[in-house]
Protein backbone atom coordinates (compact mmCIF):
# COMPACT_ATOMS: atom_id res chain seq x y z
CA UNK A 1 0.00 0.00 0.00
CA UNK A 2 2.71 2.41 1.06
CA UNK A 3 4.73 1.54 -1.97
CA UNK A 4 1.94 2.50 -4.28
CA UNK A 5 1.36 5.83 -2.51
CA UNK A 6 5.05 6.53 -2.71
CA UNK A 7 5.14 5.73 -6.38
CA UNK A 8 2.15 7.89 -7.09
CA UNK A 9 3.54 10.80 -5.12
CA UNK A 10 6.96 10.62 -6.82
CA UNK A 11 7.78 12.08 -10.17
CA UNK A 12 7.81 9.39 -12.81
CA UNK A 13 10.67 8.86 -15.23
CA UNK A 14 8.69 10.48 -18.05
CA UNK A 15 7.85 13.53 -15.97
CA UNK A 16 11.53 14.01 -15.22
CA UNK A 17 12.38 13.77 -18.88
CA UNK A 18 9.62 16.21 -19.56
CA UNK A 19 11.03 18.86 -17.28
CA UNK A 20 14.56 18.17 -18.52
CA UNK A 21 13.44 18.78 -22.07
CA UNK A 22 11.74 21.95 -20.96
CA UNK A 23 14.90 23.15 -19.23
CA UNK A 24 17.06 22.43 -22.29
CA UNK A 25 14.80 24.32 -24.67
CA UNK A 26 14.50 27.19 -22.22
CA UNK A 27 18.30 27.36 -21.90
CA UNK A 28 18.68 27.38 -25.69
CA UNK A 29 16.09 30.11 -25.99
CA UNK A 30 17.68 32.29 -23.32
CA UNK A 31 21.08 31.90 -24.96
CA UNK A 32 19.64 33.13 -28.25
CA UNK A 33 17.87 36.03 -26.57
CA UNK A 34 21.07 37.01 -24.75
CA UNK A 35 23.07 36.85 -27.98
CA UNK A 36 20.55 38.98 -29.87
CA UNK A 37 20.33 41.53 -27.09
CA UNK A 38 24.11 41.77 -26.73
CA UNK A 39 24.61 42.20 -30.47
CA UNK A 40 22.03 44.97 -30.47
CA UNK A 41 23.45 46.70 -27.42
CA UNK A 42 26.99 46.44 -28.71
CA UNK A 43 26.29 47.77 -32.19
CA UNK A 44 23.99 50.48 -30.85
CA UNK A 45 26.38 51.70 -28.18
CA UNK A 46 29.30 51.88 -30.60
CA UNK A 47 27.19 53.28 -33.40
CA UNK A 48 25.57 55.98 -31.31
CA UNK A 49 28.87 57.13 -29.84
CA UNK A 50 29.51 58.85 -33.19
CA UNK A 51 26.73 61.25 -32.28
CA UNK A 52 27.11 61.46 -28.50
CA UNK A 53 30.82 61.03 -27.96
CA UNK A 54 32.29 62.49 -31.15
CA UNK A 55 29.63 65.17 -31.47
CA UNK A 56 28.62 64.51 -35.06
CA UNK A 57 25.20 65.82 -36.10
CA UNK A 58 22.79 63.16 -37.28
CA UNK A 59 21.80 65.40 -40.17
CA UNK A 60 25.41 65.81 -41.35
CA UNK A 61 25.87 62.07 -41.19
CA UNK A 62 22.74 61.04 -43.03
CA UNK A 63 22.62 63.84 -45.59
CA UNK A 64 26.26 64.79 -46.11
CA UNK A 65 27.62 63.67 -49.45
CA UNK A 66 31.38 63.62 -48.78
CA UNK A 67 32.87 60.62 -47.03
CA UNK A 68 36.45 60.86 -45.85
CA UNK A 69 36.53 60.38 -42.08
CA UNK A 70 40.28 60.78 -41.76
CA UNK A 71 40.29 64.29 -43.26
CA UNK A 72 39.06 67.34 -41.34
CA UNK A 73 36.95 69.87 -43.20
CA UNK A 74 38.78 73.19 -42.69
CA UNK A 75 35.53 75.18 -42.58
CA UNK A 76 33.46 73.24 -40.07
CA UNK A 77 36.39 71.67 -38.16
CA UNK A 78 34.56 68.36 -38.51
CA UNK A 79 35.70 65.33 -40.47
CA UNK A 80 33.92 64.54 -43.70
CA UNK A 81 31.39 61.93 -42.54
CA UNK A 82 28.53 62.22 -45.05
CA UNK A 83 27.17 58.71 -45.44
CA UNK A 84 24.56 59.53 -48.06
CA UNK A 85 26.56 58.09 -51.01
CA UNK A 86 26.71 54.67 -49.37
CA UNK A 87 23.13 54.74 -48.12
CA UNK A 88 21.92 55.63 -51.61
CA UNK A 89 24.23 53.06 -53.17
CA UNK A 90 22.86 50.30 -50.95
CA UNK A 91 19.24 51.21 -51.66
CA UNK A 92 19.75 51.60 -55.40
CA UNK A 93 21.45 48.23 -55.93
CA UNK A 94 18.90 46.53 -53.68
CA UNK A 95 15.84 47.96 -55.44
CA UNK A 96 17.27 47.51 -58.94
CA UNK A 97 18.20 43.90 -58.23
CA UNK A 98 14.73 43.22 -56.80
CA UNK A 99 13.00 44.89 -59.74
CA UNK A 100 15.00 42.86 -62.25
CA UNK A 101 14.75 39.59 -60.34
CA UNK A 102 11.02 39.62 -59.54
CA UNK A 103 9.60 38.98 -63.06
CA UNK A 104 12.10 36.19 -63.64
CA UNK A 105 11.32 34.65 -60.27
CA UNK A 106 7.55 34.77 -60.80
CA UNK A 107 7.89 33.37 -64.32
CA UNK A 108 10.10 30.52 -63.18
CA UNK A 109 7.88 29.59 -60.28
CA UNK A 110 4.70 29.71 -62.40
CA UNK A 111 6.35 27.35 -64.82
CA UNK A 112 7.30 25.05 -61.98
CA UNK A 113 3.94 24.99 -60.24
CA UNK A 114 1.30 25.58 -62.91
CA UNK A 115 2.70 24.63 -66.29
CA UNK A 116 5.16 21.78 -65.96
CA UNK A 117 4.79 20.43 -62.47
CA UNK A 118 6.68 17.21 -63.00
CA UNK A 119 9.69 18.68 -64.75
CA UNK A 120 9.59 21.58 -62.34
CA UNK A 121 9.85 19.34 -59.33
CA UNK A 122 12.46 17.06 -60.89
CA UNK A 123 14.82 19.50 -62.60
CA UNK A 124 14.17 23.06 -61.53
CA UNK A 125 13.75 22.50 -57.79
CA UNK A 126 17.25 20.99 -57.28
CA UNK A 127 18.82 23.65 -59.49
CA UNK A 128 17.23 26.46 -57.52
CA UNK A 129 18.23 24.86 -54.23
CA UNK A 130 21.77 24.54 -55.51
CA UNK A 131 21.84 28.21 -56.48
CA UNK A 132 20.70 29.25 -53.00
CA UNK A 133 23.65 27.41 -51.51
CA UNK A 134 26.44 28.89 -53.64
CA UNK A 135 28.71 31.01 -51.42
CA UNK A 136 28.63 34.72 -52.19
CA UNK A 137 32.37 34.91 -52.81
CA UNK A 138 31.87 32.64 -55.83
CA UNK A 139 29.33 35.07 -57.25
CA UNK A 140 31.80 37.86 -56.55
CA UNK A 141 34.65 36.17 -58.39
CA UNK A 142 32.44 35.47 -61.39
CA UNK A 143 31.27 39.08 -61.32
CA UNK A 144 34.83 40.36 -61.24
CA UNK A 145 36.10 38.17 -64.06
CA UNK A 146 33.05 38.04 -66.33
CA UNK A 147 30.57 40.82 -65.66
CA UNK A 148 32.98 43.70 -64.99
CA UNK A 149 34.97 43.24 -68.25
CA UNK A 150 31.70 42.74 -70.11
CA UNK A 151 30.25 46.03 -68.81
CA UNK A 152 33.56 47.76 -69.54
CA UNK A 153 33.44 46.66 -73.16
CA UNK A 154 29.89 47.80 -73.70
CA UNK A 155 29.73 51.01 -71.69
CA UNK A 156 33.41 51.96 -71.36
CA UNK A 157 34.86 53.24 -68.10
CA UNK A 158 36.25 50.82 -65.57
CA UNK A 159 33.30 48.41 -65.58
CA UNK A 160 32.88 48.75 -61.82
CA UNK A 161 29.65 50.28 -60.67
CA UNK A 162 26.03 49.92 -59.70
CA UNK A 163 25.15 48.04 -62.88
CA UNK A 164 27.69 45.28 -62.20
CA UNK A 165 26.55 45.15 -58.58
CA UNK A 166 22.92 44.88 -59.66
CA UNK A 167 23.65 42.01 -62.03
CA UNK A 168 25.56 40.03 -59.41
CA UNK A 169 22.86 40.64 -56.79
CA UNK A 170 20.13 39.75 -59.28
CA UNK A 171 21.66 36.31 -59.75
CA UNK A 172 22.12 35.96 -56.00
CA UNK A 173 18.59 36.82 -54.91
CA UNK A 174 16.78 35.17 -57.82
CA UNK A 175 16.82 31.68 -56.25
CA UNK A 176 15.72 33.07 -52.86
CA UNK A 177 12.71 34.83 -54.35
CA UNK A 178 11.91 31.94 -56.68
CA UNK A 179 11.90 29.20 -54.06
CA UNK A 180 9.74 31.25 -51.70
CA UNK A 181 7.33 32.13 -54.51
CA UNK A 182 7.06 28.46 -55.44
CA UNK A 183 6.05 27.64 -51.87
CA UNK A 184 3.41 30.37 -51.90
CA UNK A 185 1.95 29.27 -55.23
CA UNK A 186 1.82 25.69 -54.03
CA UNK A 187 -0.11 26.76 -50.94
CA UNK A 188 -2.90 28.35 -52.99
CA UNK A 189 -5.81 25.91 -52.39
CA UNK A 190 -6.57 23.54 -55.23
CA UNK A 191 -10.28 24.39 -55.27
CA UNK A 192 -9.48 28.00 -56.28
CA UNK A 193 -7.98 26.70 -59.49
CA UNK A 194 -10.72 24.17 -60.03
CA UNK A 195 -13.49 26.74 -59.56
CA UNK A 196 -11.80 29.13 -61.98
CA UNK A 197 -11.43 26.46 -64.62
CA UNK A 198 -14.99 25.24 -64.02
CA UNK A 199 -16.50 28.60 -64.83
CA UNK A 200 -14.63 28.62 -68.12
CA UNK A 201 -11.38 30.49 -67.44
CA UNK A 202 -8.40 29.61 -69.60
CA UNK A 203 -5.20 28.55 -67.87
CA UNK A 204 -3.69 32.00 -68.26
CA UNK A 205 -6.84 33.66 -66.88
CA UNK A 206 -6.80 31.24 -63.96
CA UNK A 207 -3.13 31.99 -63.22
CA UNK A 208 -3.41 35.72 -63.68
CA UNK A 209 -6.78 36.40 -62.06
CA UNK A 210 -6.87 33.80 -59.33
CA UNK A 211 -3.58 32.15 -58.41
CA UNK A 212 -1.38 35.26 -58.55
CA UNK A 213 -3.99 37.38 -56.76
CA UNK A 214 -4.29 34.85 -53.97
CA UNK A 215 -0.52 34.54 -53.70
CA UNK A 216 0.28 38.27 -53.74
CA UNK A 217 1.14 38.63 -50.02
CA UNK A 218 3.43 35.62 -50.19
CA UNK A 219 5.16 36.91 -53.31
CA UNK A 220 5.68 40.30 -51.68
CA UNK A 221 7.20 38.57 -48.67
CA UNK A 222 9.53 36.67 -50.99
CA UNK A 223 10.63 39.93 -52.64
CA UNK A 224 11.29 41.59 -49.29
CA UNK A 225 13.35 38.59 -48.20
CA UNK A 226 15.35 38.86 -51.41
CA UNK A 227 15.87 42.56 -50.79
CA UNK A 228 17.03 41.90 -47.25
CA UNK A 229 19.61 39.49 -48.60
CA UNK A 230 20.74 41.98 -51.25
CA UNK A 231 20.94 44.81 -48.73
CA UNK A 232 23.16 42.86 -46.38
CA UNK A 233 25.38 41.25 -48.99
CA UNK A 234 28.95 42.46 -48.55
CA UNK A 235 31.58 40.40 -50.26
CA UNK A 236 30.21 39.90 -53.76
CA UNK A 237 29.10 43.51 -54.04
CA UNK A 238 32.37 44.85 -52.73
CA UNK A 239 34.23 43.00 -55.46
CA UNK A 240 32.29 44.54 -58.35
CA UNK A 241 30.92 47.91 -57.28
CA UNK A 242 34.23 49.79 -57.27
CA UNK A 243 34.09 51.09 -53.68
CA UNK A 244 34.25 54.80 -54.43
CA UNK A 245 32.35 56.80 -51.83
CA UNK A 246 30.84 59.06 -54.49
CA UNK A 247 27.24 60.07 -55.03
CA UNK A 248 25.98 57.60 -57.64
CA UNK A 249 25.27 59.67 -60.76
CA UNK A 250 25.14 56.93 -63.35
CA UNK A 251 25.01 53.17 -63.34
CA UNK A 252 28.48 52.45 -64.70
CA UNK A 253 30.66 54.70 -62.54
CA UNK A 254 32.19 53.32 -59.34
CA UNK A 255 29.97 53.64 -56.28
CA UNK A 256 29.81 52.01 -52.86
CA UNK A 257 27.40 50.42 -50.42
CA UNK A 258 27.18 50.46 -46.64
CA UNK A 259 28.54 46.94 -46.47
CA UNK A 260 31.46 47.51 -48.82
CA UNK A 261 32.68 50.59 -46.93
CA UNK A 262 32.31 48.68 -43.68
CA UNK A 263 34.32 45.64 -44.70
CA UNK A 264 37.01 47.72 -46.42
CA UNK A 265 37.55 50.06 -43.51
CA UNK A 266 37.08 48.16 -40.29
CA UNK A 267 40.55 46.58 -40.22
CA UNK A 268 42.28 49.86 -40.87
CA UNK A 269 40.80 51.84 -38.02
CA UNK A 270 41.49 51.83 -34.32
CA UNK A 271 38.73 50.90 -31.87
CA UNK A 272 37.35 53.98 -30.15
CA UNK A 273 38.48 56.51 -32.76
CA UNK A 274 36.00 58.53 -34.77
CA UNK A 275 36.98 56.68 -37.95
CA UNK A 276 35.99 53.44 -36.26
CA UNK A 277 32.82 54.82 -34.65
CA UNK A 278 31.38 56.01 -37.95
CA UNK A 279 31.80 52.50 -39.36
CA UNK A 280 29.82 51.18 -36.39
CA UNK A 281 27.15 53.71 -37.18
CA UNK A 282 26.96 52.27 -40.69
CA UNK A 283 26.60 48.83 -39.11
CA UNK A 284 23.81 50.23 -36.95
CA UNK A 285 21.99 51.47 -40.05
CA UNK A 286 22.31 48.01 -41.61
CA UNK A 287 20.94 46.38 -38.46
CA UNK A 288 18.01 48.79 -38.29
CA UNK A 289 17.26 48.22 -41.96
CA UNK A 290 17.14 44.45 -41.49
CA UNK A 291 14.73 45.09 -38.63
CA UNK A 292 12.61 47.21 -40.99
CA UNK A 293 12.63 44.44 -43.61
CA UNK A 294 11.47 41.98 -40.93
CA UNK A 295 8.65 44.28 -39.84
CA UNK A 296 7.57 44.75 -43.46
CA UNK A 297 7.40 40.99 -43.92
CA UNK A 298 5.25 40.67 -40.78
CA UNK A 299 2.96 43.49 -41.84
CA UNK A 300 2.44 41.92 -45.26
CA UNK A 301 1.79 38.54 -43.68
CA UNK A 302 -0.83 39.93 -41.30
CA UNK A 303 -2.60 42.03 -43.89
CA UNK A 304 -2.76 39.42 -46.60
CA UNK A 305 -3.81 36.35 -44.66
CA UNK A 306 -6.20 34.20 -46.65
CA UNK A 307 -9.58 34.27 -44.98
Amino acid sequence: MDKITQKLMQKSESTKKDSLGRAISLAALSLIVIVVISIFTFVMSRGLSTFFHDGVHVKDFLLGSTWNPSVINPQTKQPYIGALPMILGSFIVTFLAAIVATPFAIGTSLFMTEIAQKRGAKIMQPIIELLVGIPSVVYGVIGLTVIVPFIRQIFGGSGFGILSGTIVLFVMILPTITSMTVDTLKSVPRHYRESALAIGATRWQMIYKVVLRAATPGILTAIVFGMARAFGEALAVQMVIGNAALMPHDLTSPASTLTSVLTMGIGNTVMGSLQNDVLWTLAMILLLMSLVFNLVVRAIGRKGELK
Binding site: I32, I34, N68, P69, R152, G159, F160, A244, N268, Q275
Partner: protein, 300 residues
Protein backbone atom coordinates in the same frame (compact mmCIF):
# COMPACT_ATOMS: atom_id res chain seq x y z
CA UNK B 1 14.85 29.57 -39.25
CA UNK B 2 16.37 32.88 -38.26
CA UNK B 3 16.49 31.85 -34.62
CA UNK B 4 18.39 28.69 -35.46
CA UNK B 5 21.00 30.70 -37.31
CA UNK B 6 21.33 33.15 -34.44
CA UNK B 7 21.57 30.23 -32.05
CA UNK B 8 24.31 28.52 -34.00
CA UNK B 9 26.23 31.80 -34.28
CA UNK B 10 25.72 32.36 -30.56
CA UNK B 11 27.10 28.97 -29.65
CA UNK B 12 30.01 29.62 -32.00
CA UNK B 13 30.74 32.93 -30.29
CA UNK B 14 30.63 31.38 -26.85
CA UNK B 15 32.94 28.56 -27.91
CA UNK B 16 35.36 30.99 -29.56
CA UNK B 17 35.45 33.24 -26.51
CA UNK B 18 36.02 30.21 -24.34
CA UNK B 19 38.94 29.12 -26.47
CA UNK B 20 40.38 32.62 -26.51
CA UNK B 21 40.31 32.85 -22.73
CA UNK B 22 41.75 29.36 -22.40
CA UNK B 23 44.51 30.12 -24.88
CA UNK B 24 45.31 33.41 -23.20
CA UNK B 25 45.71 31.92 -19.77
CA UNK B 26 47.77 29.13 -21.24
CA UNK B 27 49.99 31.53 -23.14
CA UNK B 28 50.73 33.60 -20.05
CA UNK B 29 51.33 30.52 -17.95
CA UNK B 30 53.77 29.01 -20.36
CA UNK B 31 55.48 32.31 -20.94
CA UNK B 32 56.31 32.54 -17.28
CA UNK B 33 57.80 29.08 -17.38
CA UNK B 34 59.87 29.80 -20.48
CA UNK B 35 63.62 29.79 -20.19
CA UNK B 36 65.97 31.16 -22.85
CA UNK B 37 67.41 27.79 -23.75
CA UNK B 38 64.18 25.91 -24.30
CA UNK B 39 61.40 28.16 -25.54
CA UNK B 40 57.80 27.17 -25.20
CA UNK B 41 54.59 29.10 -25.45
CA UNK B 42 52.46 30.93 -27.92
CA UNK B 43 52.98 34.17 -29.76
CA UNK B 44 50.10 35.76 -31.58
CA UNK B 45 50.95 38.49 -34.08
CA UNK B 46 48.06 40.29 -35.74
CA UNK B 47 47.67 43.25 -38.05
CA UNK B 48 49.07 44.54 -41.33
CA UNK B 49 48.40 42.34 -44.34
CA UNK B 50 51.50 43.77 -46.04
CA UNK B 51 53.72 42.34 -43.32
CA UNK B 52 51.77 39.10 -42.96
CA UNK B 53 53.59 36.93 -45.55
CA UNK B 54 57.00 37.89 -44.13
CA UNK B 55 55.94 37.39 -40.51
CA UNK B 56 54.46 33.99 -41.38
CA UNK B 57 57.64 32.89 -43.13
CA UNK B 58 59.91 34.03 -40.31
CA UNK B 59 57.51 32.49 -37.80
CA UNK B 60 57.69 29.12 -39.53
CA UNK B 61 61.45 29.10 -39.66
CA UNK B 62 61.64 30.16 -35.99
CA UNK B 63 59.29 27.35 -35.01
CA UNK B 64 61.49 24.85 -36.79
CA UNK B 65 64.32 25.91 -34.51
CA UNK B 66 62.08 25.91 -31.41
CA UNK B 67 59.59 23.09 -31.74
CA UNK B 68 57.95 23.91 -28.40
CA UNK B 69 56.78 27.25 -29.69
CA UNK B 70 53.67 28.23 -31.58
CA UNK B 71 53.72 31.44 -33.58
CA UNK B 72 50.45 32.47 -35.15
CA UNK B 73 50.26 35.34 -37.63
CA UNK B 74 46.96 36.87 -38.61
CA UNK B 75 45.87 39.70 -40.89
CA UNK B 76 43.17 42.19 -40.05
CA UNK B 77 44.83 45.47 -40.92
CA UNK B 78 47.28 47.83 -39.22
CA UNK B 79 44.52 49.51 -37.23
CA UNK B 80 43.36 46.21 -35.77
CA UNK B 81 46.98 45.25 -35.01
CA UNK B 82 47.68 48.46 -33.09
CA UNK B 83 44.44 48.49 -31.11
CA UNK B 84 44.65 44.81 -30.21
CA UNK B 85 48.21 45.02 -28.95
CA UNK B 86 47.38 48.18 -27.00
CA UNK B 87 44.60 46.45 -25.10
CA UNK B 88 46.72 43.36 -24.54
CA UNK B 89 44.78 40.77 -26.52
CA UNK B 90 47.76 39.89 -28.75
CA UNK B 91 51.47 39.80 -28.06
CA UNK B 92 52.54 41.56 -31.26
CA UNK B 93 50.68 44.15 -33.32
CA UNK B 94 51.86 44.40 -36.93
CA UNK B 95 51.64 47.80 -38.56
CA UNK B 96 52.77 49.57 -41.73
CA UNK B 97 52.71 52.94 -40.02
CA UNK B 98 54.21 54.42 -36.87
CA UNK B 99 51.79 54.15 -33.93
CA UNK B 100 52.20 57.92 -33.55
CA UNK B 101 50.58 58.43 -36.96
CA UNK B 102 47.49 56.44 -36.14
CA UNK B 103 44.68 58.27 -34.40
CA UNK B 104 43.30 56.73 -31.25
CA UNK B 105 46.42 54.81 -30.24
CA UNK B 106 48.44 55.66 -27.14
CA UNK B 107 51.88 55.28 -28.71
CA UNK B 108 53.70 55.88 -25.43
CA UNK B 109 52.54 52.48 -24.12
CA UNK B 110 53.84 50.63 -27.15
CA UNK B 111 57.35 49.63 -28.03
CA UNK B 112 58.34 49.75 -31.68
CA UNK B 113 60.35 46.95 -33.31
CA UNK B 114 61.15 47.68 -36.93
CA UNK B 115 61.60 44.45 -38.83
CA UNK B 116 61.86 45.33 -42.53
CA UNK B 117 61.45 48.07 -45.11
CA UNK B 118 58.87 48.03 -47.85
CA UNK B 119 59.10 50.12 -51.00
CA UNK B 120 56.04 51.29 -52.88
CA UNK B 121 55.86 52.21 -56.56
CA UNK B 122 53.18 53.76 -58.77
CA UNK B 123 51.97 51.27 -61.37
CA UNK B 124 49.93 51.56 -64.55
CA UNK B 125 48.29 49.22 -67.01
CA UNK B 126 50.79 48.25 -69.72
CA UNK B 127 48.73 49.99 -72.43
CA UNK B 128 49.69 53.39 -70.97
CA UNK B 129 52.51 54.87 -73.04
CA UNK B 130 54.18 56.67 -70.17
CA UNK B 131 57.14 55.32 -68.27
CA UNK B 132 58.42 58.37 -66.42
CA UNK B 133 56.42 60.94 -64.53
CA UNK B 134 57.25 63.88 -62.30
CA UNK B 135 56.21 63.98 -58.67
CA UNK B 136 54.02 67.01 -59.39
CA UNK B 137 52.23 65.15 -62.18
CA UNK B 138 51.69 62.16 -59.91
CA UNK B 139 50.20 64.49 -57.29
CA UNK B 140 47.90 66.03 -59.88
CA UNK B 141 46.72 62.62 -61.08
CA UNK B 142 45.86 61.43 -57.58
CA UNK B 143 44.20 64.71 -56.62
CA UNK B 144 42.16 64.70 -59.83
CA UNK B 145 43.70 67.71 -61.61
CA UNK B 146 45.03 65.57 -64.46
CA UNK B 147 42.45 63.19 -65.91
CA UNK B 148 43.91 62.20 -69.29
CA UNK B 149 47.21 60.47 -70.09
CA UNK B 150 47.71 63.03 -72.90
CA UNK B 151 48.54 65.67 -70.30
CA UNK B 152 51.60 63.74 -69.11
CA UNK B 153 52.93 62.73 -72.52
CA UNK B 154 50.89 59.61 -73.20
CA UNK B 155 48.10 58.82 -75.62
CA UNK B 156 44.55 60.21 -75.48
CA UNK B 157 43.13 57.96 -72.79
CA UNK B 158 41.17 58.59 -69.63
CA UNK B 159 43.04 57.99 -66.38
CA UNK B 160 41.34 55.53 -64.04
CA UNK B 161 42.64 56.08 -60.51
CA UNK B 162 42.49 53.04 -58.26
CA UNK B 163 43.19 53.66 -54.62
CA UNK B 164 43.59 51.55 -51.51
CA UNK B 165 41.03 51.80 -48.72
CA UNK B 166 41.22 54.84 -46.47
CA UNK B 167 43.43 54.09 -43.50
CA UNK B 168 45.28 51.28 -45.27
CA UNK B 169 48.98 51.32 -44.45
CA UNK B 170 50.15 51.29 -48.06
CA UNK B 171 47.86 54.21 -48.87
CA UNK B 172 49.07 56.30 -45.92
CA UNK B 173 52.69 55.72 -46.93
CA UNK B 174 51.99 56.61 -50.54
CA UNK B 175 50.03 59.75 -49.68
CA UNK B 176 52.50 60.88 -47.07
CA UNK B 177 55.38 60.73 -49.55
CA UNK B 178 53.61 61.86 -52.72
CA UNK B 179 50.89 64.33 -51.78
CA UNK B 180 51.81 67.55 -50.02
CA UNK B 181 50.28 68.66 -46.72
CA UNK B 182 46.57 69.37 -46.84
CA UNK B 183 46.05 67.61 -50.15
CA UNK B 184 43.78 64.62 -50.22
CA UNK B 185 43.25 62.08 -52.97
CA UNK B 186 40.12 62.25 -55.11
CA UNK B 187 37.33 59.83 -54.30
CA UNK B 188 37.76 56.94 -56.67
CA UNK B 189 37.58 53.18 -56.83
CA UNK B 190 39.09 51.67 -53.69
CA UNK B 191 40.35 48.14 -53.28
CA UNK B 192 41.28 46.35 -50.12
CA UNK B 193 44.50 44.52 -50.90
CA UNK B 194 47.68 44.56 -52.97
CA UNK B 195 46.49 41.45 -54.78
CA UNK B 196 43.19 42.96 -55.93
CA UNK B 197 44.87 46.19 -57.02
CA UNK B 198 47.34 44.18 -59.09
CA UNK B 199 44.56 42.24 -60.77
CA UNK B 200 42.36 45.24 -61.47
CA UNK B 201 45.10 47.50 -62.82
CA UNK B 202 46.29 44.72 -65.12
CA UNK B 203 42.81 44.36 -66.64
CA UNK B 204 41.60 47.97 -66.69
CA UNK B 205 42.85 50.15 -69.57
CA UNK B 206 44.32 53.47 -68.45
CA UNK B 207 44.43 52.46 -64.80
CA UNK B 208 46.94 53.81 -62.29
CA UNK B 209 47.56 52.72 -58.71
CA UNK B 210 50.46 51.84 -56.44
CA UNK B 211 51.83 48.58 -55.08
CA UNK B 212 54.47 47.25 -52.72
CA UNK B 213 57.64 46.15 -54.55
CA UNK B 214 56.87 42.49 -53.86
CA UNK B 215 53.81 42.70 -56.12
CA UNK B 216 55.40 44.50 -59.09
CA UNK B 217 56.40 41.38 -60.97
CA UNK B 218 53.15 40.60 -62.77
CA UNK B 219 51.93 40.68 -66.34
CA UNK B 220 49.71 43.55 -67.44
CA UNK B 221 51.22 46.15 -65.12
CA UNK B 222 54.36 48.27 -65.19
CA UNK B 223 55.98 50.48 -62.59
CA UNK B 224 56.55 54.17 -63.34
CA UNK B 225 59.79 56.04 -62.71
CA UNK B 226 59.38 59.25 -60.76
CA UNK B 227 61.67 62.10 -61.95
CA UNK B 228 63.84 59.49 -63.73
CA UNK B 229 64.43 57.48 -60.55
CA UNK B 230 63.65 53.77 -60.88
CA UNK B 231 61.73 52.10 -58.08
CA UNK B 232 64.19 49.48 -56.92
CA UNK B 233 65.93 48.23 -53.81
CA UNK B 234 69.12 50.22 -54.35
CA UNK B 235 67.31 53.54 -54.64
CA UNK B 236 65.28 52.90 -51.50
CA UNK B 237 68.40 52.07 -49.51
CA UNK B 238 69.87 55.57 -50.03
CA UNK B 239 66.44 57.28 -49.98
CA UNK B 240 66.63 58.53 -53.59
CA UNK B 241 63.31 56.69 -53.94
CA UNK B 242 61.33 58.27 -51.12
CA UNK B 243 58.14 56.17 -51.12
CA UNK B 244 59.05 53.55 -48.55
CA UNK B 245 58.14 52.66 -45.01
CA UNK B 246 59.20 50.49 -42.13
CA UNK B 247 57.22 47.43 -41.22
CA UNK B 248 56.65 47.58 -37.48
CA UNK B 249 55.97 44.95 -34.87
CA UNK B 250 54.63 46.64 -31.77
CA UNK B 251 54.61 45.14 -28.29
CA UNK B 252 52.96 46.50 -25.19
CA UNK B 253 55.89 47.52 -23.03
CA UNK B 254 59.11 45.54 -23.14
CA UNK B 255 58.58 42.06 -24.57
CA UNK B 256 59.70 38.96 -22.71
CA UNK B 257 59.97 35.23 -23.15
CA UNK B 258 58.97 33.83 -26.51
CA UNK B 259 57.93 37.20 -27.94
CA UNK B 260 61.30 38.71 -27.14
CA UNK B 261 63.17 35.78 -28.67
CA UNK B 262 61.03 35.93 -31.82
CA UNK B 263 61.66 39.65 -32.31
CA UNK B 264 65.35 39.13 -31.68
CA UNK B 265 65.42 36.38 -34.28
CA UNK B 266 63.71 38.74 -36.76
CA UNK B 267 66.62 41.18 -36.44
CA UNK B 268 69.34 38.60 -37.07
CA UNK B 269 71.45 38.72 -40.23
CA UNK B 270 70.12 35.31 -41.22
CA UNK B 271 66.58 36.66 -41.52
CA UNK B 272 67.41 40.14 -42.78
CA UNK B 273 69.76 38.87 -45.53
CA UNK B 274 67.81 35.78 -46.64
CA UNK B 275 64.10 35.63 -45.92
CA UNK B 276 63.42 39.37 -46.08
CA UNK B 277 64.79 40.04 -49.61
CA UNK B 278 63.44 36.73 -50.90
CA UNK B 279 59.89 37.89 -50.18
CA UNK B 280 60.40 41.28 -51.83
CA UNK B 281 61.08 43.38 -48.73
CA UNK B 282 64.27 45.26 -48.01
CA UNK B 283 66.47 44.23 -45.10
CA UNK B 284 67.12 46.78 -42.35
CA UNK B 285 70.82 45.99 -42.41
CA UNK B 286 71.01 47.17 -46.04
CA UNK B 287 69.47 50.57 -45.37
CA UNK B 288 71.86 53.50 -45.48
CA UNK B 289 69.41 55.93 -43.91
CA UNK B 290 66.92 55.98 -41.05
CA UNK B 291 63.62 57.75 -40.82
CA UNK B 292 61.58 58.66 -37.74
CA UNK B 293 57.86 59.04 -37.14
CA UNK B 294 57.89 62.68 -38.21
CA UNK B 295 59.47 61.77 -41.55
CA UNK B 296 62.95 63.13 -40.79
CA UNK B 297 65.62 61.20 -42.68
CA UNK B 298 69.17 60.80 -41.35
CA UNK B 299 72.20 58.98 -42.65
CA UNK B 300 73.12 55.91 -40.65
Amino acid sequence: MNKTIVGVVGIGVVVAVGFAIYNNTQATESKQKATPSKLTGKVLALGSTALQPLAEQVGTSFQEKNPGLTITVQGGGSGAGLSQVANGSVQIGNSDVFAEEKEGVDASKLQDHQVAVVGIAPIVNTDVQVSNISKKQLQDIFTGKITNWQEVGGQDKKIVVINRATGSGTRSVFEKNVLSDGQSAIQSTEQDSNGTVQKIVSTTPGAISYLAFAYLDASGIKALNIDKVTPDKKNVEDNSWSIWAYEHMYTKGTPNGATKAFLKYFATKEVQKNIVPKLGYIGLTDMKVTRDATGKVENK
